[in-house]
C-alpha cells in the first residue's frame, strides 16, 4: 500500500495549489518561448515566407536566442524620464497578468483518499469579479510606462491606452454579465461545470453575442491587432514602449503574451466548456476522463511519431540542427507513452488503484483545456496577421456605439430568456 507520507502529500491542498501554480507558470512563462515562436512562424507562414527556421528543429530555439539577446542588451533610461515609474511600469502589466491566473481552474474536482481537490490556486467565491478587478489595473503599466518615458510618442500611446482600455473594459464586463445570468454563478469552476454534457451547454452556443463581444474586448484589452493603437508602429514608432530597452522591454513583451494567454484560457473556460469534452459522459461512461486517459496517451504517442517522422525528413533538416536528436527523443516519449497506456489498460487501474486513476483523469482534463487554449492562442496570432489596425475614431465608435449597446441588449435579451426558462 502507499506509505503514509505520500498520502499526506497527496491529500494536502497545498500540493495541488502548487501543481496548479506550476501548470499556470508553464502555460505562461515557459510558454512564452513557444508563443513567440508560434507568433513569428505563424506570421511568416501567413505571409508565405519561412520565418526563423535555422536554430533547432523548426527554428524553436530562436525564441531562446531572442530572450538571451534581450537580457544582455544595454538598459537605456532616457534623460528626463521619471526613473521610478519608468522602472515600475513594466512590472505592473506582468504582475497583473500573472495574478489573474490565481483564480483559473485547470481541472474539475477529483477525489483522493476521500477528499476532494481541484487544480486551482485560489478558490474564491467571486473569482469572476476578481478577474475584472485585477485586469482593470493592467492599463497602469501601459499608461505609466508611456508617460514616464518623457517622449511624445510614448505619451500619445499611453493616452490612447487609457481611453481604449476604459472603453472596452465596460463592454467586457457587461458581456460577462450575460454569461453570469445563464450560469447563475460567479465562480469559474461552477461555470465550467454548468457546461457539462451536450455541446449546446457550452457558453458559445448559449450566448453567442456575449462571446463575440468578449472576444473583441479581450483583444482590445490585450492591445493586440486590430486594437494595437497603443503601439501603432506606423504612427507612434512603438507607442508606449518606444523608450524601453533590454529586459524592461522584455517584461512588456512577455506581459503582452501572458495577457493573451490569460485571455485565451478565460475564453475557453467561459465559453468553450473548459476541460469538458462534449457528450463525454454519454460516450465514455460515468468517469469519462479516467477512461479516456490511455487513449490520450496513445494519441500523444501517435502525434509524437508523426512529428518525429516529419522532423527527420531531409527537407526539414536542410537549415536546422538537432532534428534527429529531437526525433529520437520523440520516439522515446511516444514509446513510453504507448507503454504506459497499455499498462493502464491492462492493469485495470480504475478499480485497482483509484487514486492514480483520479490523478490521470485530472491530467486528461488539463490536457483537454490546454488543447482548447492552444487554439484560442493561435486565434490571437491568426487575427493579428489578417486584420488591419483600426483608426482611432473607428475604435471609439466601435467601442461606445456598437459594442456597448450590443452588450446591454445582450443582457436584456438573456435576462428575459432566462426568466422564460429557455436558457
Amino acid at each position: 500500500m502507499i506509505p503514509e507520507w505520500v498520502q499526506d502529500i497527496l491529500t494536502s491542498k497545498w500540493t495541488w495549489a502548487a501543481l496548479a501554480l506550476v501548470v499556470a507558470y508553464v502555460l505562461t512563462l515557459v510558454g512564452i518561448v513557444v508563443y513567440t515562436w508560434l507568433e513569428r512562424r505563424g506570421a511568416a507562414f501567413i505571409q508565405r515566407r519561412p520565418g526563423p527556421n535555422r536554430r533547432g528543429p523548426y527554428g524553436i530555439v530562436q525564441a531562446v536566442a531572442d530572450a538571451v539577446k534581450l537580457a544582455t542588451k544595454e538598459d537605456v533610461v532616457p534623460a528626463g524620464a521619471n526613473k521610478w515609474l519608468h522602472a515600475v511600469a513594466p512590472m505592473i502589466g506582468m504582475t497583473v497578468a500573472l495574478t489573474i491566473i490565481a483564480v483559473i481552474p485547470f481541472s474539475g474536482d477529483f477525489e483522493l483518499f476521500g477528499q476532494t481537490f481541484r487544480l486551482q490556486i485560489a478558490d474564491m467565491n467571486f473569482g469572476f469579479i476578481f478577474i475584472l478587478a485585477i485586469s482593470s489595473l493592467a492599463v497602469y503599466g501601459v499608461a505609466l510606462g508611456g508617460w514616464s518615458s518623457n517622449n511624445k510618442y510614448s505619451l500619445l500611446g499611453s493616452l490612447r491606452s487609457g481611453a481604449q482600455m476604459i472603453s472596452y473594459e465596460i463592454s467586457l464586463g457587461l458581456s460577462l454579465v450575460g454569461v453570469l445570468l445563464i450560469y447563475n454563478t460567479v465562480k469559474l469552476d461552477e461555470m465550467v461545470i454548468a457546461q457539462t454534457g451536450a455541446i449546446w451547454h457550452w457558453g458559445v452556443v448559449q450566448a453567442p453575442m456575449a462571446f463575440l463581444i468578449f472576444l473583441t474586448s479581450s483583444y482590445a484589452e490585450a492591445n493586440r491587432v486590430p486594437f494595437d493603437l497603443v503601439e501603432a508602429d506606423s504612427e507612434l514608432v512603438a507607442g508606449f514602449h518606444t523608450e524601453y530597452s533590454s529586459l524592461r522591454f522584455g517584461l512588456f513583451y512577455m506581459g503582452e503574451y501572458v495577457h493573451m494567454a490569460v485571455s485565451a484560457i478565460l475564453t475557453v473556460i467561459l465559453f468553450f466548456g473548459g476541460w469538458h469534452i462534449p457528450w463525454a459522459e454519454e460516450i465514455f461512461g460515468s468517469a469519462p476522463y479516467v477512461t479516456l486517459f490511455p487513449w490520450l496517451l496513445f494519441g500523444a504517442a501517435l502525434v509524437c511519431l508523426v512529428i518525429a517522422w516529419d522532423t527527420s525528413r531531409p527537407r526539414r533538416r536542410v537549415h536546422t540542427r538537432g532534428n534527429l536528436l529531437l526525433a529520437f527523443l520523440l520516439v522515446c516519449v511516444a514509446g513510453s507513452a504507448a507503454a504506459l497506456g497499455g499498462l493502464y489498460l491492462a492493469g485495470d487501474v480504475q478499480t485497482e488503484i483509484p487514486w492514480l486513476a483520479s490523478i490521470c483523469g485530472m491530467l486528461t482534463q488539463v490536457i483537454v483545456l490546454v488543447l482548447k487554449f492552444a487554439f484560442f492562442f493561435w486565434l490571437f496570432i491568426w487575427v493579428r496577421w489578417t486584420l488591419p489596425r483600426f483608426r482611432y475614431d473607428q475604435l471609439m465608435k466601435l467601442g461606445w456605439k456598437v459594442m456597448l449597446p450590443l452588450a446591454l441588449l445582450n443582457i436584456g435579451v438573456t435576462g428575459v430568456l432566462v426568466l422564460l426558462g429557455v436558457l
Binding site: A44, I46, Q47, R48, R49, L212, W382, T386
Partner: protein
C-alpha cells in the same frame, strides 16, 4: 492639384456585420499558412546564404578591371571614370607604361566602396571598356579599410564573373 475623391464600394447588410467577412479573411490567411507549411518549395522566398537569387544580366555589383592577355590591366589611366564619378570615390595615380604601344597605366587605382553609389557611370565613361561592374554584391566587411579597393582587388578572380561588357 485636384482632390481625388475615392468612393468606397457600398457594403450590403451582410458585409456590414463584419463577423462573417472577418471569418472569410481568416480563411484566406489560413489557406496561405497551410500552403506554406505543406508546400514550402512554393514560397517566393530564397533561403539566402545557401540559395542565391538569380541576378539581372545588367546588375551592378562591385567593380572589376579587365586584364590584357599578359595579365596587366587594360586601364590606360585616362581619368575619365574619376572625372565622371558622382560621389568621387575613384582615385587613380598614373604612371608611364613599359609597353611602347601603351602610353599610361595606373600605378594605383583606388575605389572607396563605402562612397560608391553603384551608378555605373565609370563603366559608361571608360574609353577602353576596362572597368566593368561584376555580379558580386556580398560586400559586407569588418573594417572600413577592407572596403577600399586597390588595383589588386580589382584585378582578382575575374574568371567566375559574367559582368556587363
Amino acid at each position: 492639384m485636384g482632390v481625388k475623391q475615392i468612393h468606397r464600394p457600398p457594403q450590403n447588410a451582410w458585409e456590414r456585420l463584419y463577423v462573417f467577412e472577418i471569418a472569410r479573411g481568416l480563411g484566406i490567411t489560413l489557406k496561405h499558412a497551410l500552403l506554406s507549411w505543406f508546400k514550402p518549395g512554393h514560397m517566393p522566398t530564397y533561403e539566402y546564404p545557401e540559395v542565391k537569387r538569380p541576378l539581372a544580366e545588367r546588375f551592378r555589383g562591385r567593380h572589376r578591371i579587365r586584364k590584357r592577355e599578359d595579365g596587366s590591366p587594360l586601364c590606360v589611366a585616362c581619368y575619365c571614370c574619376q572625372t565622371v564619378c558622382p560621389p568621387q570615390c575613384i582615385d587613380i595615380t598614373a604612371e608611364e607604361s613599359d609597353d611602347p604601344a601603351v602610353m599610361k597605366r595606373p600605378r594605383e587605382f583606388k575605389i572607396n566602396l563605402l562612397r560608391c553609389i553603384f551608378c555605373g557611370m565609370c563603366v559608361e565613361a571608360c574609353p577602353r571598356d576596362a572597368i566593368y561592374m561584376s555580379h558580386d554584391y556580398e560586400l559586407a566587411d569588418r573594417t572600413r579599410e577592407q572596403l577600399q579597393l586597390g588595383l589588386d582587388d580589382l584585378l582578382e578572380n575575374q574568371d567566375n564573373d559574367e559582368g556587363e561588357g
